[in-house]
Symmetry: C2
Subunit: 388 residues, 2 copies
Amino acid sequence: MVEVKQAQAHEPEAATTTLLPPAAHPGDACSLVDTPALLLDLDAFEDNLRTMQVLAERHGVALRPHAKAHRCPEVALRQVALGAVGICCQKVSEALPFVAAGLRDIHISNEVVGAAKLRLLAELARRARLTVCVDDAQAAQALSEAMLEHKASIGVLIEIDVGQKRCGVQTPEATVELASMLQSLPGLSFLGVQAYHGGLQHKRSLDQRQKACDKAARLVRRHLDALKLAGIPCSIVTGGGTGTAVFDVASGVYTEIQAGSYAFMDTDYGSIDWGEALAFRHSLFLLGTVMSTPTADRAVLDFGLKSTSTESGAPELLGHDGLRCVAVHDEHCILHAASPSDRPALGQKLRLVPSHCDPTFNLHDSLVAIRGDKVEGVWPISARGLSR
Amino acid sequence: MVEVKQAQAHEPEAATTTLLPPAAHPGDACSLVDTPALLLDLDAFEDNLRTMQVLAERHGVALRPHAKAHRCPEVALRQVALGAVGICCQKVSEALPFVAAGLRDIHISNEVVGAAKLRLLAELARRARLTVCVDDAQAAQALSEAMLEHKASIGVLIEIDVGQKRCGVQTPEATVELASMLQSLPGLSFLGVQAYHGGLQHKRSLDQRQKACDKAARLVRRHLDALKLAGIPCSIVTGGGTGTAVFDVASGVYTEIQAGSYAFMDTDYGSIDWGEALAFRHSLFLLGTVMSTPTADRAVLDFGLKSTSTESGAPELLGHDGLRCVAVHDEHCILHAASPSDRPALGQKLRLVPSHCDPTFNLHDSLVAIRGDKVEGVWPISARGLSR
């Protein structure tokens, strides 16, 4: 029996859960946004979208931005409006709000295993043009059976392991064998291959990235040559990302690139060498309030690990030379001020650039879209938490 | 104008967002739980609750478990049912679902700064017995004004920095000065102090923790002595945590302890030396499915950083000697098998122990409560994402 102390003279609990207002309203000054909040600077964001779209179009390569980066349909709609052919999702359930928002061309850039997920995938395939990755004969068989059972059909790409050491077939021979099987399985259309190497994206020097990309492209070409020799048509070669996009589009191998972070530019991507190649701007910010100034050299912000991911480092303050984030606790960021005059005041709001956008988006339910000093919209991050 | 390719012959999108079933249903066998999922082993969980409750009661110290660890009202109701005096929340908005669930004695173990949050705090203070921390005169003034404006009253504790170097007043003199001010501010009742030191909780050896606790307790006593000398009554001394609980309850300083992780026992707490003092069991598990077995020594699970936090390390497989998690990507865990026979099969489900429970809970919308091999309930993690 649950015994809960009932304090006297308190109001009834009705509507307790509706007490929380939105973090911001369109038209608000940015200074009114409640914290912690995730801000999107629309001017920088739109510049980034155009920069990548122009790069892809110049090389005749399709841009299929990765929605795993943001999980936000309003972002995807703007990417498609500018010319993206569709989007990628990494998980089946993640695709749901994008289909609901009207996106109709989605590549699930991942293997899907398990009866519940295959059922959901088939349901989605009846509602949108869907493609999915496979790297295993048994999984391909299960995928085909699910499509048959639910009267759906789906495009299939074979994932090739080009050095990431994650999923994917290992040899051109295995690719040909699996492609032959896929051609014969009902409910499936073999369309091409996926070759993605996340590790390459973050190599610091442009030269290192170029060399690593060339190596991956040579590997992809061996698989493509083997398919050609076997007489198996392959119309899609999808892969690539923000850090390697400039090489991927010029490689002659990829028909589409899957970049995601380019729209936001976290500190991790911000710290790699971009040369003259591309110029992306930071568009994504964490907004925090100084909630304590206990010493002359310390200020504490009101967000932590539950609002920002840290596996690529602490979020960074830009334009505050004497102030830096020295620790991130569950609900606090600890800032160190080089001198007392660098310490922000109690109640002051500060913007920080997250170190890794994908898992940071996944911690927030909404994205506060701002232009200049005004809130333009509050966009639901509808696929937040949809990881099945 | 957003242009979205409309594929032909697709079903209308109605109900797309309702396609996703719950990850599990009460009565299901555990093998049917869809992944990724967060599992709570109720037998181990209930043992842990009893162990800590017994420890606290044996020393006449109140147990006020920290709800920031789990953000799940069903967990808090069970803690209170066993004798906890109430709960702690770290954020104002986090407290909302707990008040809605019937919890009526909540300590906000943190400073609250900003008009929107103070308004919410006052609204909650009209519905439950609330206490909150302050460490600043200006913040105390704003808190009092908010209580007056919204016709509410609240208990106030001064947070003391006992070495964590986060928030909190720095000297006994500052504590006395602030307490005197709090006594005179309308809408506020000065009730005591909070002294929490997160860093101590995780020191590996029992002896190190004992010494660090003693040092913190001596510091607290200096503040308490100064208050006594000034004739200011102090009825609550709250603090302590899972790692130091055994010393905190015996210190003679604390009137209540704020432990949270004891209920779940992540790998970080699991790896510290517990001596003969207390025995907690792992009750919290991440359930993943093997979605790819690309090589003889590699298997890939279908969850990553979006389902488990890693700032305290990768999640761990217990009871699988030849298999370990070697990398955590955004949506994948990479497992390395010592020999081919150690590699799990495609589709197999595996349980891993998370390294840090608090931010891991915050990545999930529900907690699948299991007993033995059956699902007993699916509990909403209602305060997930409520970080304002």
